[in-house]
Symmetry: C2
Subunit: 406 residues, 2 copies
C-alpha cells in the first residue's frame, strides 16, 4: 500500500535530523544572516534605551517647577543628542533634541511646539526665558530599559532574521550573530534524454529544467547547492559521481538529491545505482510526485525525486522544504490559505493530488493547466499549490480548498 504524504514527510524529517545536528553553527556578520534562523538564544547585553532620553525636540524640565497654569523658566545650555548633559538646576529648562539624554534632575519634556517663543533661543544668548505649560512627570521621556532590559531574552533561537531582527541585534551593539551552518546538498539530474539549456537540442531530447528549478528552490531555502552536470542513464557513471562526493570526498556533502530514474521503467538509473545501499523506492499516495526514493548512500541522506519538473517541484515543496523548516528552522513554512474554486474539479481516489493554481485578490482560485506533471509553463503561471486530499474525488465550483502560497 502506498505511503501517506504525512508519513513520507516524517521519514524525510528523520532522515535529515542527524545531518542537521552534526553541522553545528557559525558566527557571521549581521547582514550575512539575513533570511537565516538564529541558532541560539540572544539575551540583551544592555538595556534599550541605554539611558532615559527625550522623545521630542523641546525643553527638559523639572515638572514641579511649572505651576498648573504654566510658568516661565530660564533657558539652560542646550542638550544635543550624543552629549552627557550637566544636571538641570531648579527654575531652568534645557533645550533638548530627540534621543538626547535627559539631564539629571529633569523628569519631563515639553515639546517645542508648546513653548513660547516656539523656537529655540540662540545658544549664545544669555538670560533667555521661555513660557511653558504644566507637564506631568514622565511626559515624552523614554525610560532606560522601556523597550528591553539588560539580560532579558532579546531573540529566541530559531527566530528568522529579517530586517527588524537584525536591526534589534545592531541596537544591542552586536556586530555578528550565530546561525546554523547550512546543509550542503548534491543535486544530480539524470536522463539520457536531457541536455543542458543553451546546448543543441537533437531529436528525442529535452532541456533540463529540473536542475534550475530545484537549485533555485534550494537556494531560497538556504541550502548550499553543489551541482554536477547531467548524469546519463549509465548507473556506473552515476555511481562514480556519487562516490566522489561522499566516500571519496574530504568534506562529503550532507544530502544527495537526484531527479528521475526512480519509477518502474526498464532504465531506472537511480534505482540501479542505489543497489546494495539502504534505500527504499516506494510509492507515496500523491500525484504528481508519487514515486520517491529515500535512504542513505555511503551514509549520506539520499532523496530520489521523480523526473518531471512539476513532480520535482511538488516533491521539494511537500517533503524536503517542510522537513528543512522543521529540522533547520528555515525556510519559513509556506503560508496556508483557504480559498474557493472558480471551477469544478475532479481528482483520483486514494491519492493526495497537488494541483497548481492562481489565487486572485478576491480569494478565488483558478487552476493553471491540468494534472500533467510535464506542464512547466502552467506551473510558471501559478502562485499556489492546491491540496486535494486522497478521499476527495469531486469538488464543485465555489468549494473551499486549501492552498499553499508559493
Amino acid at each position: 500500500m502506498p505511503r501517506s504524504v504525512a508519513n513520507h514527510r516524517q521519514a524525510v524529517v528523520e532522515l535529515l535530523a542527524g545531518a542537521a545536528t552534526i553541522k553545528g553553527n557559525r558566527r557571521v556578520p549581521l547582514l550575512d544572516a539575513l533570511g537565516k534562523p538564529l541558532a541560539v538564544d540572544v539575551h540583551a547585553p544592555l538595556s534599550l534605551p541605554p539611558f532615559a532620553n527625550s522623545q521630542m525636540d523641546g525643553f527638559a524640565v523639572r515638572s514641579q517647577d511649572i505651576p498648573d497654569d504654566g510658568g516661565q523658566l530660564r533657558v539652560a545650555a542646550p542638550v544635543p543628542a550624543g552629549a552627557t548633559p550637566t544636571a538641570l538646576k531648579a527654575g531652568y529648562a534645557a533645550p533638548i533634541m530627540t534621543g538626547a539624554m535627559i539631564p539629571e534632575g529633569a523628569d519631563a519634556v515639553v515639546p517645542i511646539e508648546k513653548a513660547s517663543p516656539g523656537t529655540f533661543p540662540d545658544p549664545t544668548a544669555r538670560d533667555a526665558v521661555v513660557d511653558l505649560p504644566a507637564v506631568a512627570p514622565g511626559t515624552y521621556v523614554r525610560n532606560t530599559g522601556s523597550d528591553i532590559r539588560k539580560g532579558a531574552l532579546a531573540l529566541a533561537a530559531g527566530t528568522l532574521l529579517g530586517p527588524a531582527q537584525l536591526g534589534l541585534l545592531a541596537a544591542l551593539g552586536l556586530a555578528t550573530v550565530e546561525v546554523p551552518e547550512p546543509l550542503r546538498v548534491l543535486l544530480v539530474t539524470t536522463g539520457d534524454e536531457v541536455v543542458e539549456p543553451g546546448e543543441e537540442l537533437t531529436p528525442g531530447k529535452i532541456f533540463d529544467s529540473n536542475g534550475t528549478l530545484l537549485e533555485a528552490s534550494m537556494i531560497q531555502a538556504g541550502l548550499d547547492v553543489v551541482r554536477t552536470g547531467i548524469s546519463d542513464d549509465d548507473p556506473a557513471e552515476l555511481l562514480a559521481v556519487l562516490d566522489s562526493f561522499t566516500r571519496e570526498a574530504d568534506h562529503p556533502v550532507d544530502v544527495i538529491v537526484t531527479t528521475g530514474g526512480v519509477s518502474k521503467g526498464a532504465y531506472e538509473v537511480v534505482r540501479q545505482a542505489m543497489a546494495g545501499q539502504p534505500v527504499d523506492f516506494l510509492p507515496v499516495a500523491m500525484q504528481p510526485g508519487g514515486p520517491q526514493g529515500l535512504g542513505t548512500f555511503n551514509g549520506v541522506p539520499f532523496l530520489g525525486f521523480p523526473g518531471n519538473p512539476v513532480s520535482c517541484l511538488v516533491s521539494f515543496e511537500m517533503f524536503l522544504r517542510p522537513a528543512l523548516s522543521e529540522v533547520m528552522g528555515t525556510p519559513a513554512p509556506r503560508l496556508v490559505q483557504k480559498v474557493h474554486l472558480a471551477e469544478p474539479l475532479s481528482s483520483p481516489d486514494g491519492k493526495h493530488q497537488v494541483r497548481r493554481g492562481t489565487v486572485a485578490g478576491d480569494g478565488i482560485l483558478r487552476m493553471e493547466g491540468g494534472a500533467g506533471s510535464h506542464l512547466v509553463h502552467a506551473l510558471a503561471r501559478a502562485n499556489a499549490l492546491v491540496q486535494i486530499p486522497g478521499d476527495v474525488t469531486e469538488l464543485t465550483a465555489g468549494a473551499e480548498v486549501e492552498v499553499w502560497m508559493l
Copy 2:
C-alpha cells in the same frame, strides 16, 4: 497642512521613475535572476513538449490494432527516453519509457500495469507477445506544444522570477535572461549620538540600528546598497560624503537615503546639508515617520527618513518599497490582510498610524509595543504593520483592521 500618505508615496514613485528608466537591463545566468523581475517579454523558442512523448512507462501502440475486448500484439524494440525510435509497424507494441518519443504510427500508450505480462520482456528476447486492453487514441500521449507552442508568450515582462519561472526558461533552452539593472542606493545614517555596533558605547550614545535595518530591507528589495560610515552632525562632512558619491563620482549612485536630521530641532544635519538643493522637508500625516525629506541632491533622487528605527522601517515600507514595486517591478507588494483586533486601540486624529502587531493563525491581531518609534525590540517580535487611517481614533476589541504582512 501635512501631506497624505498616498500623495507622498506618489511623489516617491515620480522621483524614482526617471532613475529606473535610465538604468536599463542586463543579461544574467538564470540563477542570478532568482527573485528578480523579468525585464522583457520572452517568447518560446521551441514548443513544449518539443515532440510527442509518453506520459507513462508502458507500450506504445496503434490504438486501432487492439479490439474493444483487448488483444495480443508482438513486442517491438523498446523505446528509451532520449532515443529517436523507428516507425511502429502494424500489429506491434513498443515498450516505451516516460518521456520517450512516441514512434511514428503509434497514437496511444497502454501503461505497463495494464499489460499481461505486467513486466517488460528481456530486450534480447525474440517473438515476445503482450496482451493489452483497448485504448482510445491519444491516451497517455503528451502532444507537441501541449504546454506551450513555439512563438507563444512564455513569460511577460515584469514577471517575478522564482524557481518555476526559471525552470520554464531552462526547459525552453535558455541559459540567460534579461533583468533590470538594480538601482544603487547610498545609505547614510547620521547623528552625533550614534556609534557602530561592536564599538564601545559611551554615555549618551546609542548603537546604530538604522543602517542594518535599512540595508537588510534594501537587499531584500533588490537594491545594490552602498554604505558610508555614520555621518556625525557636521553638515560640511555630510556634504563632502554626498558630493563624493554624486557630482565627483565616475558612476554616481542612483538614489540617496539618509536617516535622521530631518525634523525641527536645532541640529538637523540633513536639512542643513541640503540647503540650496531642490529638496522639500515636509510633514506627512503619518505616525511614526511623519517628518520626511524628498528631492534631488546634485540631481540624484534623495529621500530623508527620520532617525528612529521604527520610523525608518515604516518609511521604507510605506514609501520606498511600494515605489520600487511600481517602478522596478520588484519587490512583490506586501500581502494585505483583514484581521481582527485582540484588544481595543486608540489612535491620534488626522494622522495615519502604522502600529506593529502579530497576526496569529486564528486571524487575531495582537499589538507589539506601544506607538513609540524607538521600540525596536517590539518591532522585532511583530509580523505585521497595522494600518489605522487618519480619521479613525478608537477601535474596539474585535474590530477589523488592515495589516501588511512583513
